[in-house]
Symmetry: C2
Subunit: 382 residues, 2 copies
């Protein structure tokens, strides 16, 4: 199955200039010529994840964004935060494609049987530059979606599902028996609630608003703690005693929440041991920071003994630590759950041109809990 293909593909680009300005634009690039084992995917849906916004926006002040250019080739400019340029030195002057994952139809294929077999199939892919109309990728990297799963349903097959699965793999690999998750009402957080129920993993979900606690309880979460509640620490300690959770994944990073979690884990550990030790309990308490919703410094009060660790965690390096069989098992698990456990919901859809509308930009860049947008680079085909 082939179809007439355009000569060019439209691609969204993010540029940081030497003058300290972010510039978002669309570029027409020639359709890539396929190497022997590659396929060409017409990208039909690609989510805007928090991890995309960092590369896309470089922390620029989107409230001050202005649009120039033409209606079908708009150009957004927005000022960077003061002092941000130095940290971005390595990307200044480079027009970067954006978009970590997406899904679409294979419309051309190289000559290998593996590539040819994918012609006409709907596949999920990852690896960057997904806010583009066409992407060439190696055939084995395609996650083939089964009949009945649309590109929109498969667009978020990698980042959130594999992150949720990766958290549980990491927990088991490091010998812990339960999880704590912060910013837990996010799309990812809801996924993790469902997955932990299926996997029989005790989960303590930390949210910041009462309505988020309700939302999570409505999908089956048992232990939900609201950090805006005056009783937060007491409730957290009780939840940790009940779950024996000694590993946390934190999306916020800054402030005292990481420290509070470790303090509460230590308090929960002390209830099960009587003897005094000035070095604290021997129970190892681990928090992984996998996001930076709060960019302020992490403040650790260190009143939780010496058996603790805090560190960064990212999906890509995690995937580098697992063997191919495990990776295949996780991918198959995602495909099987795309309409249930790993279903994503979207607040709205936006075209490539629409991404460069200042009002739309402010919407999808908010990172409001539970809000998520889907980019449709080929809306005419839908």
């Amino acid at each position: 199955m082939t179809e007439p293909l355009p000569a060019d593909s439209l691609e969204l680009r993010s540029l940081v200039t030497e003058q300290g300005t972010l510039e978002l634009s669309l570029t027409e690039v020639p359709l890539p010529s396929l190497s022997t084992g590659e396929v060409l995917v017409r990208v039909e849906a690609a989510p805007i994840n928090p991890s995309d916004l960092g590369l896309l926006l470089a922390g620029a002040n989107v409230a001050s964004a202005v649009v120039e250019g033409t209606s079908d080739r708009p150009v957004i400019t927005a000022p960077l935060a003061d002092g941000a340029l130095r940290a971005l030195a390595a990307r200044v002057g480079q027009s970067l494609p954006v978009g970590n994952e997406g899904a679409g139809t294979v419309v051309a294929a190289g000559p290998t049987p593996e590539a040819q077999a994918l012609l006409g199939r709907i596949v999920a892919i990852a690896g960057g530059a997904m806010y583009s109309q066409y992407r060439a990728v190696r055939a084995p990297s395609c996650l083939v979606l089964p009949p009945g799963i649309s590109a929109k349903e498969g667009a978020s097959s990698f980042v959130n599902p594999l992150t949720a699965l990766g958290m549980i793999e990491t927990m088991r690999g490091e010998g812990h028996r339960g999880l704590v998750h912060t910013a837990a009402a996010s799309n990812l957080g809801q996924m993790l609630v469902k997955l932990c129920l299926e996997e029989d993993v005790p989960l303590v979900a930390i949210v910041r608003k009462p309505q988020h606690a309700e939302l999570l309880r409505s999908i089956g979460a048992v232990h939900v703690c609201d950090s805006s509640s005056p009783a937060f620490m007491t409730e957290l300690i009780e939840a940790l005693k009940a779950t024996l959770a000694t590993m946390a994944f934190d999306a916020t990073g800054g402030g005292k929440l990481v420290s509070q979690i470790l303090t509460a884990m230590e308090a929960a550990a002390h209830t099960s041991s009587g003897a005094y030790s000035r070095y604290g309990s021997t129970v190892h308490k681990q928090v992984y920071i996998y996001g930076g919703l709060d960019p302020s410094p992490t403040i650790l009060t260190r009143n939780f003994g010496f058996a603790w660790g805090v560190g960064g965690w990212l999906l890509t390096p995690f995937l580098g630590t697992i063997d191919p069989d495990t990776f295949s098992r996780l991918r198959a698990r995602v495909v099987a759950g795309l309409k249930t456990t790993f279903a994503s919901s979207y607040t709205g859809e936006v075209s490539l041109v629409g991404m460069l509308d200042p009002l739309t930009l402010r919407q999808y860049s908010k990172q409001a809990t539970g809000e998520k947008y889907l980019v449709t680079p080929n809306p005419a085909d839908e």
Copy 2:
């Protein structure tokens, strides 16, 4: 070889009262009856390590210490810091013996051949309650000192030597190629300088005063950075580029030093990679906090990507992770180096009664860099 033994042994005790007072005193306890595989050690020398001071003093204000009792049974009292009592709840009302390690002569032994073989030998021991005149310990836990090594020379055979060796073992076990050490002019720090030279491990030593930098250079340290220098960060980055050190052991804990080390490691890692990644370098950077010279919170600015970890590190749990052969190898290494690499120097000696003199207490509790005291519980025998 046996000798007449007293009926009682004098033992130093530390007590935290419900009223928020620290009380240090001497207690006469009956000489322990030996179980079959035990030996009785007359403790002749025991160092006052920073790790002893925490249990001994409970953070009390020693400047306000007063002495009562009699001249041969003095009792020191000192007020605890405001709010400290809650964290000490588990030890309130318990009269605790103190002293992690020491050395002395085996003066009695149980009937097993292993125990009998130690009679008359000078041994180093660990395991607490060393600020006592006599200690019963299991024969296999004794580190037998070779002829020519005195109890004073062998008194610090465990904590500092095994910590220095443990840092290198941990570094190698986690795949790093060089070390950073803070508060590096300490007794332990000087030991680590010598050990790293022998082991060909690149070391970056961080000190807080110019004269400490000189001291370390005089014993062979190559990369010494003074955190009080305005050029500290620049010099640290250069040292990290030169050494490729990506693991640090930090004795201070509080403030920004841990974060500065991670930031400098990340800067050093970036010079060897050109491509931009908003997630930072993929080089894993690890800092272990093994002390708390600065009790204020640890402030992490998280401008060092996601490939990092910070955690607590203690000797005892580390020893629990190594196999018996490794432990034997490390102990043999210590014995072989007691007059060289692992030699400790002491600022002064103090008797059990002397420990309860307020002026002496203020001296040995200062934790001044490079100052260290030796307790001699049986001074009459020396």
